[in-house]
Subunit: 491 residues, 2 copies
């Protein structure tokens, strides 16, 4: 376990890095920018995957799998797409190694050079749209609703576990539709689906909106997004859903015969969330003692720790705990009874606190005599004594309570950190001192957006979908503006 975590107040960034490693979520590997997701971290990701996968299937999507490699020429077919990804991609140039002739070890075999270089997919629009050309002939083939769970690589220079890694895991949806309207509805539906998942499973409140042109996905006509707010007042883009118009259909010549027999280009969307969500989860809820995981995503929801001296006491406690474990499991609760004799209760308490297990039950001699358990909540660190025959109901109820309370706390934090400002001076002050989202008027030009970014590091996170019309003037240029947009510094 080692020494205590750095506190958030002391150094938020250091706190995060330490926590990810100490709580056994992930660590850096020997490969620059690539992480190892450790079993405990991966178990949380698997729970996210399972729920998202269920939601995608429920809305009519099917999974498929497309190649890891993208021929260089494919990437080039959509102009703004290649612009966005060429600068940071892993390039495969050879297909063989050999022993060096001078005996110095193993080297690339220059005789095994690929005719065309392959890019390790940074995202799969191009390879998928090359395939869709073969799959789509008629309106009967539409809509085509496909999702892929995959690894992707973007050669980031400055990486951080989960938040920004060269390789990451994600899902990418790629859909094709007969009409613009249908594609636009799909893109919006997915934004709402993502928000539903992130709010109701991760207990992370988000703001839904659209991106400005300069923040859009490379190749999209519109990008819908959900934006979360971390405890340090920085925003984190938690998921994006893109309306791609006919850009990829035109680049890859994907047409369908309409009911009327006309050849038309199809309309497209793509959308994704990634292991970055793990970063959002950690930074929204956790505290100076360690992780706090919402019950719906906790690999272990309840841990039971016996407090005893000698084998007789342990055996009596185990007799009482056994049926409780069974009953909780029958109710769908994942329980761990930690009866290891190699570690003291205090050590175990710290470990499960660090790992964010939502509820800890402890039972010692006094509890044995009184027929009680000590029940501790991870989120509030509250402790209570509960009668043994009430403990199952109490635990089941508490799991819901904790899930809701975590969301509510994060929601309160978010609400307290949305500040309206009307002058650029106030804007700079809020961004520098308080952080959070700042709602301000902007003249709608990339130039102003860029100037604000350069001067304050704040970017436009989104134009909220429920934005209210409000005539005003741009805080920087004074030009007219019809609504406020949300700025923040972001991960």
């Amino acid at each position: 376990m080692g020494k205590k975590l750095t506190s958030r107040a002391e150094d938020y960034s250091k706190w995060y890095n330490e926590l990810v490693v100490k709580a056994d979520l992930a660590e850096n590997s020997g490969v620059r920018g690539c992480m190892v997701i450790k079993p405990y971290g991966f178990a949380i990701w698997e729970k996210m995957q399972a729920e998202l996968d269920r939601m995608f299937k429920e809305t009519g999507h099917q999974n498929a799998y497309f190649p890891l490699f993208i021929p260089k020429s494919y990437l080039s077919k959509e102009a703004s797409h290649v612009e966005g990804f060429a600068k940071e991609c892993a390039v495969v140039t050879h297909y063989r190694l050999k022993n060096a002739e001078d005996g110095s070890g193993i080297v690339v075999d220059e005789d095994a050079k690929l005719e065309e270089e392959l890019i390790v997919r940074p995202t799969s629009e191009t390879i998928i749209w090359d395939t869709y050309r073969k799959w789509i002939q008629s309106y009967r083939d539409l809509p085509l609703l496909i999702n892929q769970w995959a690894n992707v690589v973007r050669w980031e220079m400055r990486t951080r576990l989960f938040l920004r890694t060269a390789e990451f895991l994600w899902q990418e949806g790629h859909t094709a539709h007969a009409t613009e309207k249908e594609a636009m509805e799909e893109a919006k539906m997915i934004m709402h689906l993502y928000a539903d998942f992130v709010e109701n499973h991760m207990a992370v409140p988000v703001i839904k909106g659209t991106k400005t042109e300069s923040e859009r996905f490379a190749g999209a006509d519109e990008t819908y997004c959900i934006e979360a707010l971390m405890q340090d007042g920085k925003a984190l883009q938690a998921g994006t859903s893109h309306f791609l118009g006919q850009n990829f259909a035109k680049a890859f010549d994907v047409k369908y015969a309409s009911k009327e027999g006309k050849q038309e280009y199809v309309w497209a969307t793509s959308w994704g969330v990634s292991t970055r969500l793990m970063g959002a989860l950690i930074m929204t809820h956790s505290d100076d003692n360690g992780l706090v995981i919402p019950p719906k995503l906790a690999p272990i929801q309840v841990v039971i720790v016996p407090i005893y001296k000698g084998e007789d006491q342990l055996s009596a406690i185990s007799d009482r705990v056994g049926p409780l474990v069974k009953e909780l499991r029958a109710k769908g609760v994942s329980v761990k009874y930690d009866n290891r004799d190699t570690h003291k209760p205090g050590f175990k308490f710290n470990e499960y606190e660090l790992k964010g297990v939502p509820i800890r039950l402890a039972i010692g001699q006094r509890d044995m005599e009184n027929g009680t358990f000590e029940v501790a909540r991870r989120d509030t660190l509250e402790k209570m004594v509960v009668a043994a025959d009430e403990v199952v109901d109490r635990v089941v109820g508490l799991l819901d309570e904790i899930q809701n309370a975590m969301y509510q706390r994060a929601k309160n934090h978010q609400q307290q950190h949305i500040t309206k400002v009307d002058s650029y001076g106030d804007f700079k002050k809020v961004i520098a001192e308080k952080g959070g989202f700042v709602a301000a008027h902007w003249d709608g030009t990339p130039e102003t957006e860029n100037r604000i970014k350069e001067e304050t590091k704040a970017t436009i996170r989104c134009i909220p979908i429920d934005v209210e019309e409000e005539l005003g003037s741009c805080m920087v240029t004074g030009k007219p503006s019809k609504y406020r947009v949300l700025f923040a510094k972001a991960y």
Copy 2:
């Protein structure tokens, strides 16, 4: 749908290739040797994954995720391992593209050359053992039982959908143990687990055994395998489980402090099955009409096709089918009611036959009057008329029956294709004419094994684990032999 499949008798290999594409399982992509797994094929793979994942977890394994890339120097650390994989690997040498100065398009940016080349993982022993060095200090950290679901790349020159592709999907288990015995037991346990899965879920009988030295995994001290037999008499290696001894522990310096406080190298296993299993599934059961999928892996177990003229008839049929669908689903059966009015019943019958749906129900006017359904089995193509109130029980029972019958048919085929021979002349004749496994005496030397391979294309598939001692003499050299080994031509 297009024209009929090539028959197996006509051209088995062509039949397979056509079937994989026509049944919507997979297709070649624009990237040499890489396939696209289509939604229907991927749905079968997902069912395999789900069951295997459950079995791994039940036996104490946890999932994790390790980097896609392996530094060249890691691969070189285990001598026979690099020997095995260097000849066919994808090498990443650069991390950026740029616009060519002469305007000819996008090219590799030579200023973005990696200091050390990265290999796209062909298997993950090296990157994982580099990580295990940090995870393992004491006997308390053992056993370490990890599995990873991942994509891997081996630059095969001659590829075939599912059977041999440059990129494929698999799971790879990597375990570390305190003792040789424990590691050996793990490797064997996994062989039995694989056999259990392949026989009881895929309905594919296998022979369990060990590989000869020359057929072993690069870096293993012993390779356990399960070998299946396809309808054309060729064997297919369906899964392998390797006892790695201390080879990787020594190459990556992974030691633990024993209870007695001594520093010891750990013992290792690794094991995997891949999308190749899809090939085994297809080639074991399918026929000239298309796929035959065992009920336990069928994405759609039962399809219901209405036979009607006009909307009134369809609506009356739908009223009768509705409750049936509900009842079947309540019993855990996956049902599709295909009421598309764009296709005729005959077309639908062909489509579901091609796609291997285990049971087809049809209901037309006579059935409406008689209160019956027509029930058709995909495996035997038998049809029967079943009273409506018996159809749920009959279907549920039939799914079991079909699963068992498919296994039994494949088992009979396997048994009929294990031939004992005592002379090299007979051996050549059986291998060339009848195919299947040939049980013969061999002198135990790689030289003889190699000569047989060169002269007949047959290899030693395994030394069965339940092999009986039988003194004999090698069919080629006449040297003494203690038991028969199994030869076959293989995929």
